[in-house]
């Protein structure tokens, strides 16, 4: 293809995005667009799959049948999100096996929040309330992103996430209305999950490398700092209703800006976890690798069986 032809295609592509039309897998797209989408979408899919582990940790210990069923359904939803996000990523010309390889080798990232441990039942409430709450704020703008399969997957994901968030908040509410011991459990969970939740929005804008390009492609509509502020403004009043305290001495309402001011995030901790040295990075990755390697003989068997069945059909037809 000549340079002129490529330039022409690029112009058509840019115009399409500017008109808010979707880019579909068969459309021409710049290589960088394809790569960026593979990176972000697979990172999102990996987060769903790894995210099953901290919550799955409490399935066998859920305190009532109703909570157990709700938790199972929630973790199953996450597997479902992973499944259609992987499928959407596959439309960009990469296989699920390759994507798994990238996760297992440590090349691909997933959301750092899942590298924190779930040590009490209240953590299941806090994850639903804070982590899913932050995820929704990050993800709602993606429902109108430029790549069609991603946008459509996100519409469904967001619907289910908002259900999960309500469920999480309801767990917290029950704890806060319960005994002093239960309320303390809820406060302790908020103390541990608050700051990591703020880190879910990524580095501050002046440190963020992908923002400008992502804005252009509608992979992002607001900056990290704007989204983080939105989360804080939305969540603090919810903590007030619960009657528990956000663990930030500098947190206070600012009449002038119409937002909450908040304290300094510990960016050393953020980078430590991102670089693979959080409390559970090793365990989470090892669990995924074990499931994959331990399941190899099962996948091989399914493949061999399918081939045998296909052979039988051919023989019958012949």
């Amino acid at each position: 293809m000549s340079e002129k032809e490529i330039k022409n295609l690029e112009e058509i592509f840019e115009a399409k995005i500017a008109r808010d039309e979707k880019i579909e897998p068969k459309d021409w797209m710049p290589e960088k667009y394809r790569k960026t989408h593979i990176r972000q979408m697979s990172q999102h899919a990996h987060s769903e799959i790894v995210g099953m582990l901290p919550e799955g940790n409490w399935i066998t210990r859920a305190p009532s049948l109703r909570r157990k069923v709700a938790l199972l359904a929630k973790v199953q939803d996450e597997a479902g999100h992973g499944l259609y996000l992987y499928s959407a990523t596959e439309t960009l010309g990469i296989s699920r096996d390759e994507l798994y390889d990238q996760l297992h080798s440590g090349k691909a990232k997933y959301s750092s929040i899942f590298n924190y441990p779930t040590i009490t039942w209240a953590d299941i409430g806090a994850i639903g309330w804070l982590v899913d709450g932050a995820a929704i704020i990050n993800q709602v703008p993606l429902c109108s992103t430029s790549f069609g399969p991603y946008a459509r997957a996100m519409v469904r994901v967001c619907k289910e996430e908002s259900f999960h968030q309500r469920q999480g908040y309801e767990i917290m509410l029950t704890l806060c209305k319960g005994t002093p011991e239960q309320k303390e459990m809820a406060q302790d969970a908020l103390n541990r999950w608050w700051w990591p939740s703020l880190m879910m929005f990524g580095p501050t804008d002046d440190q963020s490398t992908h923002t400008e390009q992502s804005m252009k492609w509608k992979l992002k509509r607001k900056t990290n700092d704007e989204l983080r502020q939105q989360f804080i403004d939305q969540t603090v009043p919810q903590a007030d209703i619960l009657g528990i305290k956000v663990p930030d001495e500098d947190l206070k309402w600012n009449e002038e800006t119409g937002h909450y001011d908040f304290g300094e995030i510990n960016w050393d901790e953020f980078w430590q976890v991102v670089k693979g040295h959080g409390p559970c990075n090793k365990e989470r990755l090892q669990t995924r690798v074990d499931a994959w390697e331990g399941g190899e003989w099962v996948r091989d068997a399914a493949m061999a069986y399918a081939e045998k069945q296909a052979d039988k059909k051919v023989k019958k037809a012949g």
Partner: protein, 259 residues
């Protein structure tokens, strides 16, 4: 025996009868719950979680009913979480561990084929609530049976390695199948009252159905003389205490709290 005493005994037996069915779903659901997030593929992960969800859904219906007819003030959660090990009446098969995927599938398969027959016959019970639960469960259990039978065939007639693993699991789990067809005193009372299913009559069909699938899967049907039993009388394998330690952890650590 005066009629009031007789009624009360019938009542107690009905609750025991319900435990005998519901505890199977409870403990198997619990075992499957251990696997969420650890499956060999995302699709099997979702399917096994789904089966677990179905089973817990059934458990809730059974225990809500048992709590309702109980003379004590109890809830579904009291029945699920606050009995001692000797009071759980599930069969030994469902408490066996997830040694590997072949064991998980083998356990599911051997239980599903029993479960479907039980639900089909429970539809003829004189107890309307049990009939309603059975009718709702049949659709779910049919799906479970199809899922596990398909995997028996895939693993049995897949690779050499999978065949060996599947055969080992079936051989090991076979000794727990005979207990499925035992009846307790409470069961016999309920059969007489037209409420319970006489599982002894299901045995032949069960082994025929199971054998057909195993044959199609090119697996050998174990030929055993000695079988294990005890679960229906509350005498469990050593695994059971650990299952309950997890399951009852919150209820035991924080008695009387609402969640």
């Amino acid at each position: 025996m005066n009629s009031e005493k007789k009624d009360s005994r019938l009542h107690e037996n009905k609750i025991k009868y319900i435990y005998g069915i519901a505890d199977n779903s409870l403990i198997l659901g619990q075992r499957l719950g251990e696997l969420t997030g650890h499956g060999p593929t995302l699709e099997t992960d979702i399917a096994l979680t789904n089966i677990s969800l179905d089973l817990f859904g059934q458990v809730r219906s059974y225990f809500q009913y048992a709590a309702q007819i109980s003379e004590k003030e109890v809830t579904e959660d009291d029945l699920a979480f606050l009995r001692t090990e000797r009071e759980y009446l599930n069969v030994l098969l469902v408490e066996q561990p997830n040694t590997d995927f072949a064991y998980t599938i083998g356990r599911q398969f051997l239980f599903d084929h029993f479960h479907i027959l039980l639900m089909m016959h429970l539809q003829n019970s004189k107890d309307d609530t049990l009939v309603a639960i059975a009718k709702k469960s049949i659709k779910e259990v049919n799906y479970h049976k199809r899922f596990s039978s398909d995997w028996i065939k895939r693993l049995g007639d897949g690779t050499e390695e999978s065949k060996e693993k599947m055969q080992t699991a079936i051989n090991d789990l076979w000794r727990f199948t005979d207990e499925l067809f035992h009846t307790t005193e409470a069961d016999e009372e309920m059969i007489k009252a037209g409420v319970g299913v006489d599982v002894k009559t299901l045995k032949e069909t069960y082994y025929k159905n199971v054998s057909e699938v195993l044959e199609e899967a090119t697996l050998e049907i174990p030929d055993l003389k000695y079988f294990q039993k005890g679960g229906k009388d509350g005498i469990h394998t050593e695994h059971m205490g650990f299952i309950l330690s997890d399951m009852q952890y919150m209820q035991r650590t924080y008695p009387g709290m609402k969640w």
